[in-house]
């Protein structure tokens, strides 16, 4: 007996897959496709954080570091050492997972709040390494000449081609994550969020499970980071700072913590919002400092949280 919710998820997934395959044939605007590509990248990273934060109830403030590790490992291995991009992507994801495991083991023996602090520190360290280890990372000026991903002779080097790749991967990763939430593991994760002691009493090894989910979130984020590097073919450290960790956090909360679909909606909303504020604010306020954008962004978020505490996914469910 399949649960109705699982079946609904499946239909929406199939519908989305149809839209995704048809879209590049209809939409010709590079600007729009580019935007959708960034939404896709952000959504992949946000899904990882949704599993960690929305399901296991653990806050990470350093997801940008895994995004950066994914992007730079891919970039360095291909641009500097001439690896095949797919191999480099595999290595990037693996490395991020191992790093998450390494910092997760000591953290999860302690308490939940510590994860937020430790990942915050970890994010800062990774950012400074990216900026300062110039011989490897190219320093502040970055790394160029990263090859795009290719299948046979088909190179994912245009917005429309990359769109198909990133959204296909997104749907695959979304399906896997949805499966996890509707399983023994998913129940245990929700139980941790509901009450760690009661979960332990029911036999859930909460330490081990939180660690696993943290690693999964790092894997998802590194996939997004690696894709990002091969999409832009040029990277510098600035998108991998603390600001991006917060943006991901906002996507997850805004989308609706307990919903993977929410991660997708949140990624869409934040990506569009940031872009709108970037283009609209100068027109309203004249060519002033960028700080106005941040203030407006903050005000909009406060409004969202007050009027839609369950996020965009909660709104969709009510409709």
């Amino acid at each position: 007996m399949t649960r109705p919710r699982v079946r609904l998820d499946l239909w929406v997934l199939v519908g989305l897959a149809v839209v995704v395959s048809a879209l590049p044939l209809v939409v010709r605007s590079g600007y729009l496709l580019g935007m959708l590509n960034f939404i896709g990248l952000n959504a992949i990273a946000a899904m990882g954080l949704t599993l960690l934060m929305g399901y296991a109830g653990q806050v990470s403030l350093g997801q940008a570091a895994f995004f950066g590790l994914g992007a730079y490992t891919s970039g360095i291995l291909t641009a500097t050492y001439g690896w095949n991009p797919w191999l480099a992507m595999g290595a990037a994801v693996l490395l991020s997972g191992c790093v998450a495991l390494l910092i997760g083991v000591p953290i999860f023996r302690l308490s939940g709040l510590l994860l937020a602090m430790a990942t915050l520190g970890f994010g800062i360290i990774v950012y400074y390494v990216l900026v300062n280890w110039s011989s490897l990372t190219g320093g502040p000026s970055g790394l160029t000449g990263i090859p795009p991903l290719a299948l046979g002779g088909f190179r994912f080097d245009q917005d429309s081609r990359f769109f198909s790749l990133v959204w296909a991967l997104l749907l695959l990763l979304l399906a896997l994550a949805l499966n996890v939430t509707e399983s023994r593991i998913g129940r245990a994760l929700r139980a941790i969020h509901g009450g760690e002691l009661a979960a332990q009493t029911a036999g859930v090894n909460t330490t081990w499970l939180k660690l696993q989910v943290f690693v999964v979130s790092a894997l998802y984020t590194a996939v997004a980071g690696s894709l990002y590097a091969h999409y832009l073919t040029f990277i510098n450290p600035s998108p991998f700072g603390f600001g991006y960790s917060i943006e991901l956090l906002v996507m997850v909360v805004l989308g609706g913590l307990r919903s993977l679909w929410g991660a997708l909606l949140g990624a869409g909303a934040v990506t569009v919002l940031v872009e709108l504020l970037r283009t609209v604010t100068p027109r309203l306020m004249g060519r002033t400092q960028a700080e106005y954008e941040i203030i407006l962004f903050g005000l909009l978020l406060m409004g969202f949280m007050i009027f839609m505490p369950r996020g965009l996914a909660g709104l969709a469910r009510r409709a």
Partner: protein, 251 residues
């Protein structure tokens, strides 16, 4: 089966439990009674690994429990419910009970993500078994309800059902009758006796003397963290110190 030796627990100078000794034997219903603050819940928390003891030891079938984490203790076959119901409120009644099958199933993260054939078989078995257990506590018709929407008595039963889903050998119940009406209390008594007859050992804390005296094989009385009496319900009721400390206060 369960052996508690010279158990003491202090919270910053406050002696919650002092040198308490007792055993819970296979197949019995044993009750622990005593006024509020006598240390009953503390003893439960030490047994289940929630807090470490200051001194003394707890053994389960010969194995020391005092250094194990709660989930490791659960894995040995000790299920428990809490004084204030600890359900996962946003999950359905069925999902709460299914969580109790966690230790009786093994599908990991990868198998779950891929929905392998064995994972799906296991999931179906978990669901079927959990529904059986809900039927046993007469809650099957509430399976799809969100746990927090249930009346209090049924939430208590759901928590017991979750513990039963673990198929424990020893079940610790912290005030299972609190907040139940007369009819629900009678049903609970019947359920606990049926569970004992199926071979589950039960150790409970409760304030309802009628229930405790009716179903228990043995009663342990605690006052100010110390054991003041232990024995068959009839004996304990006649014990002068008990009457003074506890029973007398109610009459």
């Amino acid at each position: 089966m369960l052996e508690v030796r010279e158990l003491s627990k202090e919270f910053g100078g406050v002696r919650a439990v002092q040198r308490v000794n007792f055993v819970v034997r296979d197949g019995q219903i044993k009750a622990m009674i005593g006024p509020n603050g006598a240390g009953k819940t503390t003893i439960f928390n030490v047994i289940t690994g929630v807090v470490p003891p200051s001194r003394g030891l707890v053994r389960f079938n010969g194995q020391p429990l005092t250094r194990l984490k709660p989930y490791a203790i659960a894995a040995l076959g000790i299920g428990r419910t809490f004084q204030t119901v600890q359900l996962f409120g946003e999950m359905t009644v069925l999902e709460n009970v299914m969580l109790g099958r966690h230790l009786r199933s093994r599908a990991g993260l990868l198998a779950s993500a891929l929905r392998t054939a064995s994972m799906r078989r296991e999931e179906a078995a978990i669901r079927e078994r959990s529904l059986e257990i809900l039927e046993r506590v007469s809650l099957k018709d509430k399976a799809g309800h969100v746990a927090s929407s249930l009346p209090y008595g049924e939430q208590r039963l759901t928590e017991i059902a979750r513990a039963l889903a673990m198929e424990p050998v020893l079940l610790l119940l912290d005030e299972p009758a609190a907040g139940l009406n007369r009819a629900e209390k009678a049903r609970l008594g019947g359920l606990l006796r049926r569970l004992r007859d199926r071979g589950i050992t039960i150790f409970l804390v409760d304030h309802h003397m009628d229930l405790v005296m009716e179903i228990s094989d043995e009663v342990l009385v605690l006052n100010y963290g110390e054991k003041i009496a232990e024995g068959a319900p009839g004996e304990v009721q006649r014990h002068a110190e008990v009457v003074a400390a506890y029973l007398g206060a109610e009459e």
